[in-house]
Amino acid sequence: MLAFILRRLAGTVLVLLTVSVFVFGFVRLLPGDPARLVAGPDATAEDVAAVRADLGLEGPVWRQYVRYIGQTLRGDLGRSAKTRQPVIAEIGARFMPTLWLTLVAMGWSTLFGLAVGVLSGVKRGRWEDQTAMVLAVSGVSFPSFWLGLLLIDLFSVRLGWLPTGGDDDWRSFVLPSITLGAGVAAVLARFTRSAFVEVAGEDYVRTARAKGVPERGVIWKHALRNALIPVVTMIGLEFGFLLGGSIVVETVFSWPGLGRLLVDSVSFRDYPVIQAEILLFSTEFVLINLVVDVLYAVVNPEIRLR
């Protein structure tokens, strides 16, 4: 198990290094000169040059990269070109809100998706199944910004139950996490259903019934445990969607998170921030998938004990 985790971590480092090269090249491919943007409209040519030096944008790109990786490994992510703040501080303040939002969204959508998936798997072919599935599929059919605005209109403006944005207390989590998680909940529900239906036809489920295990036990103990195995992998992939989706949701709900920061920093060509952020996103994604793989091994003894 430990070996497994270590091996995966090694792979992770590799992926992240590649991502860092990618990102590094990518920001430099973006048309637009950060020095110019930073220096501002009134700046002279010398000012711009000075800013460029300040931002470490001189010399050949590979040298910049080596310097950048060196600094990054030492934990120094540089300063934001736009705000002149250390990137760490910039991102640090926004990391937790995004993480929490994603986790809450992931949490409810997983629970909800599993429950609905199992329900329609059990009642497969009947109206409960059909309704649940059409509803679930609806969840992935909404453009999220529209859903978000509709939710605000209904729950904040008309009913006055929930705040329109911010990350102040649990109430402010409700709407953004619903908006963010709806798609994932739907995907998981459908996935769980088909995994469940597949498992329900397996011989060992029949064995459980032949033993006289009550239907509830058959579903929750024998079938679901096995159905979870493919679902768990799905959860990891869906997490990537959540991270991406947070950009839109954070804008609609004025959530002080990384997604909005990213859009801002891209339009400002704030290289250090873009780099650090994409790296962070990727790390998060890769780590979550690592966790998922570990979970996978937990639900699947065959992997664990190999």
């Binding site: 973006l30 048309p31 637009g32 000169d33 950060p34 110019r36 943007l37 220096a39 501002g40 409209p41 009134d42 700046a43 002279t44 040519a45 010398e46 000012d47 711009v48 000075a50 800013v51 300040d54 736009k82 705000t83 002149r84 703040q85 910039e90 303040a93 910004f145 605005l149 605000i152 209109d153 904040s156 403006v157 006055g160 705040p163 329109t164 944005g165 911010g166 804008t251 609609v252 709900f253 004025s254 002080p256 909005r260 920061l261 801002d264 891209v266 339009s267 400002f268 060509r269």
Partner: protein, 484 residues
């Protein structure tokens, strides 16, 4: 009594000398003040200086400071503090983006603790305006020493509110008890919250999470007016909207083509469609609220004439061109509208919304005029000094071609240049007025741009709120805010 103001973009940081956006300036204005300032109508008023004297040639300015002001950290405000601040901005080593405001200052002399003299290296008539600009706000010298670069996130000024916390989308300030203006401030705190999504920002006002939002998108005015607890505040601005044409490129190098394009756009329809009616036609190269504005009339909507002019210029069937602009919904709407209007006279437009980074690169980073790829650019300008100079010189003087300044139209007219420089050569308002009237007349006739409109500023506020003003440059004044 806590005031929450919903705004549409982030506040990168709060170092006034390094700030390029109106919004951050509004936030800075809650905590900082300059020697002079603007009132809600953009009129120059004394602030930390009680009065100013200047010499005939506009090269020496002596400011007489107030005696009763202390910074939030207890440091007294005096001539020494002014000198420290000015020298910070002037020092090229500091790479502060607002240095151009004081680049003409050769040195600062402390005459006595409350009198300070600025000696300029060249005449600069608009100098007092520069001293009212947020770029020259006064920062506590002690705090400057203490925080260094981090002053950007630890503002210490003399304004009505003290700094509490900073995040690029939320800035919190609290009442400064020993503010020098008696009876102010009247609210306990002011919080600026960035809510970029229009609908969300409006929702925030409706639910009472904010008491003031700016801007309120024009399309929502009707909805807001229908809500009894809300006021819609509409005020004039100094934001001019126009399409810059590349005067050095075919076919825009032909004045008849430029005229034709001006005739081709129905400004009233433009205002109705794009701004839901909340704007005024632009009737001079600068908006009416800027000093030395001189009305030039209007380019009437006359597609027939436009066609005739095009034919005369050798384009009977029109031509094709690319129109650039920002990616905001509003810009896209405007460009789409222009596309339709130009199509009616045979000019086929491809609309290309450019992301901010791309457009700065394509517009400002051009090294030689011949390299400019821009044909038409839908854009806007707001002269942050409130003066005609900054409304004309950076955009239309032939010395302002990129990469120096922003004459992306590559407009070059010797007479216009002369008039603009004359305006700057004197501190005498009367002389300046003549010069700028001349400049505006020349430019208007030459039609380097398609002149479109002047925005109206729209804000939404709770009926409980008073004393928050939306200034013509888009800034927000919160000093007198009161809630009941």
């Amino acid at each position: 009594k806590d005031l929450v103001i919903g705004v549409d973009s982030n506040m990168p940081h709060l170092d006034p000398a390094n700030t390029n956006d109106t919004l951050s300036q509004s936030v800075e204005r809650t905590m900082y003040q300059g020697l002079f300032g603007f009132d809600k109508d953009m009129k120059l008023i004394p602030a930390l200086a009680e009065k100013v004297d200047s010499d005939e040639t506009a090269t020496e300015f002596t400011f007489h400071l107030r005696h009763d002001v202390t910074f939030h950290d207890g440091t007294p405000f005096n001539a020494e503090a002014v000198k420290v601040n000015l020298e910070r901005v002037m020092n090229p080593e500091n790479h502060l983006s607002r240095r151009s405001l004081v680049s003409m200052v050769s040195h600062v002399d402390v005459v006595d603790p409350y009198t300070v003299k600025f000696v300029l290296s060249q005449p600069f008539g608009a100098f007092v305006n520069n001293m009212a600009h947020p770029g020259t706000f006064m920062i506590s010298p002690k705090a400057l020493a203490q925080y260094g670069k981090d002053i950007a996130t630890h503002p210490v000024g003399t304004g009505p509110f003290k700094f509490v916390s900073f995040a690029t989308d939320t800035v919190k300030t609290t009442k400064y008890e020993s503010y020098w203006k008696p009876g102010l401030p009247k609210v306990d705190s002011v919080t600026f919250k960035s809510v970029p999504e229009n609908g969300s920002r409006f929702a925030m006002l409706q639910t009472g999470e904010a008491q003031f939002i700016a801007p309120l998108p024009a399309e929502l005015v009707k909805a807001a007016q229908g809500i009894p607890t809300l006021n819609v505040v509409i005020s004039p601005s100094i934001i001019a909207r126009y399409v810059a044409l590349n005067n050095m490129r075919k076919p825009f190098d032909d004045v008849r083509v430029r005229e034709a394009l001006n005739y081709a756009v129905d400004k009233n329809a433009f205002i109705k469609i794009v701004f839901s009616g909340y704007a005024e036609p632009l009737d001079a190269p600068i908006p009416p609220k800027l000093a030395f504005y001189s009305k030039q009339g209007e380019w009437p909507y006359d597609p027939a004439k436009a066609k005739a002019l095009l034919a005369e210029a050798g384009y009977p069937d029109g031509f094709s061109a690319e129109l650039w602009g920002a990616t905001s919904t509003l810009a896209k709407r405007a460009m789409e509208f222009l596309q339709q209007q130009f199509a009616a006279v045979g000019v086929k437009i491809t609309v290309s919304p450019l992301e901010a980074g791309v457009s700065t690169a394509k517009l400002w980073n051009v090294q030689k005029p011949e390299d400019a790829t821009m044909q038409m650019d839908f854009t806007a300008w707001s002269s942050s000094t409130g003066d005609a100079d900054w409304g004309l010189r950076p955009l239309l003087d032939s010395k302002s071609f990129p990469p120096n300044l922003f004459n992306i139209a590559y407009f070059h007219s010797a007479e216009a240049d002369k008039a603009i420089e004359a305006g700057l050569g004197s501190a005498d308002p009367a002389k300046r007025a003549v010069a700028y009237a001349e400049a505006q007349k020349i430019i208007w006739k030459d039609a380097p741009w398609v002149f479109l409109s002047v925005d109206q500023l729209i804000a939404g506020e709770s009926k409980r709120l008073s004393g928050v003003y939306y200034m013509p440059d888009g800034g927000i004044l919160t000093e007198e805010a009161a809630l009941n």
